[in-house]
């Protein structure tokens, strides 16, 4: 692992361009998100429920004095089992200077993928809007769904952040 550069390599050096991803499981699928959006990984802790919010917003937690929402993507993606087990963890993301945590079944690994290893996603077969998928990554036998987590978290569909225009009140 120590060979991987944390910085994205210049784009003209295509073959060596490695991007690092954090992989995790949601249900039976393996997902990966850009490691640079990840601030920390925490044990799942009890959340404070928020009134009048969609079911995939589990509530809020205290991140060293900052209140951050917790999103259960398993609920959002419609997985049947959204249980909390010993491996359930919170991945705290920093997206456009905002903090949000996602609930995932288990964090697997950090992997480096070259551009060749990332294939465009087909229009079907995935439980979520293709808009939020950057592509499919392959690592050996394993297929990783690369999530465009920034786009997803800030999407109107998820409705986590108030739109800019509403900022004045």
């Amino acid at each position: 692992m120590q060979d991987f550069s944390l910085k994205p390599a210049p784009s003209n050096a295509q073959p060596a361009a490695l991007r690092e991803f954090l992989t995790f499981r949601l249900g039976h699928e393996d997902y990966a998100i850009d490691i640079l959006t990840v601030q920390e990984i925490r044990m799942f802790e009890s959340v404070t429920k928020l009134p009048t919010t969609p079911d995939y917003i589990k509530g809020v937690i205290n991140l060293r004095g900052v209140i951050a929402p917790v999103i259960d993507l398993r609920v959002k993606f419609g997985f049947e089992n959204a249980d909390y087990g010993p491996f359930t963890v919170l991945v705290v993301l920093r997206v456009r200077e905002k903090l949000a945590a996602i609930v995932v079944d288990a964090v697997a690994d950090v992997v480096g993928l070259t551009a060749e290893q990332i294939k465009p996603a087909p229009e079907l077969s995935i439980t979520l809007n293709i808009e939020y998928v950057m592509g499919l990554g392959t690592r050996g036998e394993q297929m990783l769904i690369l999530l465009d987590i920034e786009k997803l978290i800030t999407s109107r569909e998820l409705g986590i952040f108030e739109e800019e225009s509403q900022a004045t009140h």
């Binding site: 429920k49 009048t52 919010t53 809020v60 937690i61 209140i67 108030e162």
Partner: protein, 685 residues
């Protein structure tokens, strides 16, 4: 060579604002018959700093205007001009124009030159054009041969170069002539060579004014080399642009020279020097303003406050653990208690940093009152008390508009014209009093006037006309509440001062947004008394923690009237499905908190519940909770920093166990409940 001066702009605007505010305050205090020399000097210094800064940044028109202002001040100082009302008014107006145009420059990157030129012309009315920046100073005739002076300055001991008002010094030297060399060891002395047409005495006088008589020596200087060769400053860049500095050989104006010099000053010095320079400048300004204050970015303070908030939570966790383990070790117990005490003190100290004296707000009022009284033809004496009372900075900023509005109202609607006052047997000069006091853990700001008071008949008539549910039997207090209705006005004519009916409702809303409330007392013919009650800070709330459906919520303590154990018979369901609670002889709406907050769909059970009567500006309602957990001060955290706003929730806080608890927005819940029952009525129909 080109140094980007724009990065100094924010600092410039900030400082200019401060200087202008300072000028205004002092100008208003000036006694036309016996102007206080120290005050004049202070105004002069402020104007001078603005001039120097604008020249430095190439804002030539600003420096010209400030130069004219200086001229007028100088004449006042020399007793050639009396600071009569018209002079003061003009100077105040000048401050406004400069501020306005400065703001434009800041926002749009350009300013309205015509406005500045017009002001310049107006300023010219008072005082001869002597010393105009356009013309070469007329005191020494232009033919006067330029001379070089060596200026030696003893640096203040212990402060070195940072103790000098360098920016002012540069600006001053720039207006005198051309700076040719500067040498300093940074600690004890500074030596300059100045090429100027000014007479040695006037150079001396200017520098003495700026730096004091003790530490400056001006002597004639004969360069060791040829007269024409400029002295190469140490580490100077090639003098390629030297011709531009040839002030007296070319027709370039002094203004330009000042600018060029300003640039040159930054350009030719090494980065280190430049840093010293800026620091020096900051240091001096501080010295001039207040030796004991330093300017800190609010974000840094907020961060500090957050960290301390965290510490408080960490401490209470520690305390909880120590207590739970029944710490046998007396030393551990003592230490935990000690940490607790220190943490609380630290928190108080950090909170105190954010507090500013009310003076910063009150000091804006004399100007407002003066201008408005003049326009309305009224005579008013404004008196402010308790300006030293401290309040959270953010609150002071947010209070500015409401208080200005209330003062404006007092002047416009309250205080009568002098003749009317005389007819009513009152002193012709009206009185408006501002008062700030600490009361019961909060701050009370009062605005009192001895004017006509509210006109009950008129307000009632208007309220009836507008269908606000008024009737003749209402108490005065109830009638006064109408003035807070949106769009309410009793003014027969709309003016640009007041009477458009926008205002009082906004005032009330703003005050409530700050967690405060507003009270009105008024007696016909005697005046009006408005009191604004506010919590000390926005960051902390006195709350009651309650449990509803297994979750902990915080209810602002200030809104809680009473709590009781309700009996079944007290709760009645009316046909709309809404429920009311009988509390003594009143029926109060029951807030179905659980439904409104989506906690559970079943109606809150009365069994084992505790009823809390909440009171938001006279609107009362009952809240059913499962348990009262205790009263505590909570640090208010924003939900919105990482999530959207949630109706019914005012914010969040972190409890002693590290968990998040939501703070209920009772006012919003009242509205939600009202909306919900309306829907039910509509659905039933």
């Amino acid at each position: 060579m080109a140094v980007d001066l724009t990065r100094f702009l924010p600092m410039f605007f900030e400082e200019t604002e401060e200087h202008l505010a300072n000028m205004e305050t002092q100008l208003l205090r000036l006694d036309p018959n016996a102007p206080d020399a120290e005050a004049l000097h202070s105004i002069f210094r402020a104007a001078h700093s603005v001039k120097g800064n604008s020249a430095l940044l190439g804002a030539a028109r600003f420096s010209e205007v400030m130069h004219r202002i200086e001229g007028i001040l100088d004449r006042i100082r020399k007793e050639q001009l009396k600071p009569e009302t018209d002079v003061i008014n003009l100077l105040l107006e000048a401050c406004d124009v400069v501020r306005e145009q400065g703001a434009r420059l800041k926002d749009k990157g350009e300013c309205d030159n015509a406005a500045l030129d017009a002001l310049y012309e107006q300023l010219n009315r008072f005082g001869p054009a002597e010393g105009s920046l356009h013309a070469v100073p007329s005191l020494p005739p232009p033919i006067r041969r330029s001379e070089r002076f060596r200026i030696e300055v003893d640096l203040p001991s212990g402060q070195g170069i940072t103790g000098l008002p360098l920016a002012n010094l540069y600006a001053e030297l720039g207006s005198l002539g051309r700076l040719e060399d500067l040498q300093t060891d940074g600690v004890t002395s500074l030596s300059l060579i100045l090429l100027t047409v000014q007479a040695p005495d006037s150079v001396r006088e200017k520098l003495h004014t700026l730096l004091g008589t003790q530490s400056v020596r001006v002597t004639a200087y004969v360069p060791p080399v040829k007269e024409s060769a400029p002295l190469a400053p140490p580490g100077a860049a090639p003098a390629s642009s030297a011709d531009e500095f040839g002030l007296f050989s070319q027709e370039s104006s002094l203004t330009q020279t000042t600018e060029v010099l300003g640039e040159r000053r930054f350009g030719r010095r090494s980065a280190d020097h430049e840093a010293t320079n800026i620091m020096g400048r900051r240091a001096t300004d501080r010295v001039q303003l207040d030796r004991a204050s330093i300017r800190v970015n609010v974000d840094k303070l907020d961060r500090l406050l957050n960290l301390v908030g965290e510490l408080v939570i960490a401490q209470s966790m520690l305390n909880e653990t120590a207590t739970r383990n029944r710490a046998q070790d007396a030393r551990l117990r003592d230490s935990v208690a000690y940490v607790g005490r220190q943490t609380r003190e630290l928190q108080e100290a950090v909170m105190a940093i954010r507090l500013l004296p009310m003076d910063s707000l009150f000091s804006r009022m004399p100007r407002l009152v003066r201008d408005l009284a003049k326009r309305l033809g009224k005579e008013v004496e404004l008196n402010a008390q308790g300006g030293e009372t401290e309040l959270d900075k953010e609150m002071i900023e947010k209070l500015a508009d409401p208080i200005m509005h209330l003062v404006r109202n007092s002047l416009d609607h309250g205080i009568e014209a002098p003749t009317q006052r005389a007819a009513a047997g009152k002193a012709p000069v009206g009185k408006i009093q501002l008062r700030a006091t600490h009361q019961a853990g909060g701050v009370v700001i009062e605005i009192l006037d001895d004017g006509a008071g509210f006109d009950r008949r008129k307000i009632l008539a208007k309220a009836l006309e507008r269908g606000l549910g008024a009737h003749a039997g209402m108490s005065d207090e109830e009638v006064w509440q109408f003035v807070f209705a949106p769009g309410f006005t009793t003014a027969d004519e709309v003016s640009d001062i007041s009477g458009r009916g926008v205002g009082m409702d906004v005032v009330k809303r703003n005050i409530r947004a700050l967690g405060g409330h507003i009270e009105v007392r008024s007696r016909p013919g005697e005046g009006t008394h408005i009191a604004i009650r506010l919590p000390l800070t926005l960051a902390i709330l006195d709350g009651m923690s309650v449990e509803i459906a297994g979750e902990t919520f915080i209810v602002p303590l200030s809104l809680i009237g009473e709590a009781f154990l309700p009996q079944n018979y007290q709760i009645k369901t009316i046909t709309t499905g809404a429920r009311v609670v009988q509390v003594r002889d009143a029926y109060l709406p029951l807030l179905s908190t659980e439904q409104l907050l989506g906690l559970s769909s079943r109606p809150a059970s009365v069994q084992n519940a505790i009823a809390i009567v909440v009171d938001v500006d006279g609107r009362r309602a009952v809240l059913l909770v499962d348990q009262l957990l205790g009263q505590q001060q909570v640090v208010i955290k924003s939900l919105e920093s990482n999530y959207r706003r949630i109706p019914g929730v005012a914010g969040a806080t972190v409890l002693g166990n590290g968990r998040v608890a939501l703070i209920l927005d009772i006012n919003a819940l009242l509205h939600l409940e009202a909306a919900a029952s309306t829907v039910q009525v509509a659905g039933a129909a």
